[in-house]
Symmetry: C2
Subunit: 311 residues, 2 copies
């Protein structure tokens, strides 16, 4: 058994995007096992257990990930994760990966795959609402799939948006109002908001939106009217209804699960997708266990690990 | 984060029994979180993910355990397990334990607690059907709670029963027929049987039975008539109906979940139990995630561990 303390460092983003795309394709074909996430509630946070098996990648295992919003005050990340990999052939635990950074990367990769298939053009003005770690992961992954002519970024905390542009000085990056950020070809939202931030009227026809921030009941970033106007694709229907961007509008009767246009897996397989340049498309990302397993395949190939005695 | 490669070595069995009893008491009080086990099927086996949280012990985490029946031919155990412990306060992974041996011990401890509360006497003739690792764990744990005047053991493979008696030469240990083994005060069954082995007629009034072997759909060791004649206590009703001793009789309409007399937690709390010396009582053990967490508390106190870099 091997422990990988920093498996997210130095990964080839293009290889990550590719294996994540393969995992979504298998999901679209119905060839993976992925029961719903199981939640355990602590007093000041929770953790989720995410088991899965992707036969085509010969990988099975479990991601374990917490969410403790008070952690930054104690100098710890809000979200930390481990992934345990088992051999499908014998069930022996083969690897344990520090999956905190991998979680950002695999979410970035899903956004990149969605943008690659659903954006109306290959060269885009990128609007960003939110400027944290997930915003960076989305930019890094998307930039390997599409040409980015300009970044328009808004953050509730102005200095965070400024720092983002400084970190990404290779791009034409501008701090803007949220309304200006929404006026783009590809909009990426990565905030922890619990109320709609992006208004329907601000979004022009033909835009594709990666809706990343909503990952739990009660969270939402987009005007429900925008969902009704758009074609919404989800990573997984069960998870999206429970904790994705559509969860609050559904609970309020403003949106119905029947309106979902399909899954990203179906999009990758060409069974569903954008049908015209003026459609608005939305990818509602909640994060799947199969993404965690797929990125582990790439991470374990790097080989920076510590041997542990087992059994 | 610490890795414990051999946390089952040198544990104080009495301390283990005590913390397992505490976990069952909390289960009886409804003060634990323990969603149903989640199963992932591989071609030649499966693995189960078992998350839980026991607030009174301040411990939360997940056991991950496989079952690959073909493993012994390849020199590996059929069952191997890891437990990941998270801090309830911050969600950070604190420990990873090799839980293969701990799984036997915590199951032994549940049997010992059941025997302590449900046996009609404190000094017993112990009948054993099955002589493997789990039989040994049951004996070790039970012997710290009850006086054992004699062991009558039967195994399908005679030399295994002989080896068991040789290993446990401190006891009056006899290899017998299965019928003679069943003629005892406390009967422990630990086989992987998929058909009833112990007939109703062989079991005298007043016997307590620890039914340990059945841990999956299709497995059973006891004559269904014996279940109907006895008071059956389960570790967890959902798991017992799915994969415990009662699962096959229920699926055949020979037993009803309504007939279950209660849980071991309720027995520990004194809310349920044996009401006379002539009753037959049965403890139907499937193995709970809270047992895995409880034994981890004791195992981590020993401190034989390797530090791992996280986050």
């Amino acid at each position: 058994m091997q422990y990988y303390p920093n498996p997210d460092e130095g990964l080839d983003i293009h290889a990550v995007n590719k294996v994540i795309e393969e995992a979504f394709a298998e999901h679209g074909r119905g060839k993976v096992q992925m029961p719903p996430k199981v939640y355990i509630a602590f007093d000041h946070g929770d953790f989720r257990t995410m088991p899965a098996y992707v036969p085509s990648l010969n990988i099975g295992g479990v991601k374990i990930v917490n969410v403790h919003p008070g952690n930054p005050a104690a100098g710890l990340p809000t979200v930390m994760a481990l992934t345990v990999i088992l051999s499908p052939q014998t069930g022996i635990p083969e690897a344990i990966l520090n999956a905190t950074g991998l979680t950002d990367l695999r979410t970035g990769a899903a956004g990149a795959i969605a943008a690659k298939y659903l954006c109306a053009r290959k060269s885009v003005v990128l609007g960003m609402v939110g400027s944290g770690r997930q915003a960076q992961a989305q930019l890094d992954a998307i930039s390997t799939e599409l040409a980015i002519t300009e970044i328009r970024i808004w953050s509730r905390t102005e200095k965070h948006a400024r720092a983002f542009c400084e970190r990404n000085a290779g791009y034409e990056c501008r701090m803007t109002s949220i309304e200006q950020a929404a006026d783009c070809d590809l909009l990426v939202t990565t905030t922890p908001s619990r109320e709609p931030l992006v208004r329907d009227a601000w979004v022009r026809d033909g835009t594709h939106i990666n809706s990343i921030g909503a990952d739990g009941p009660g969270k939402e970033e987009l005007d429900p009217a925008l969902l009704a106007r758009a074609k919404v694709f989800v990573d997984d229907p069960v998870q999206a209804v429970h904790s994705g961007e559509i969860n609050v509008p559904i609970s309020k009767g403003l949106y119905s699960p029947d309106q979902v246009a399909g899954t990203l897996g179906e999009v990758v397989l060409g069974r569903k997708g954008r049908t015209g340049d003026r459609e608005i498309t939305i990818f509602d990302s909640t994060g799947l266990a199969i993404q965690d397993l797929a990125i582990a395949v790439i991470a374990m190939q790097k080989g920076n690990s510590v041997p542990l005695r087992f059994p």
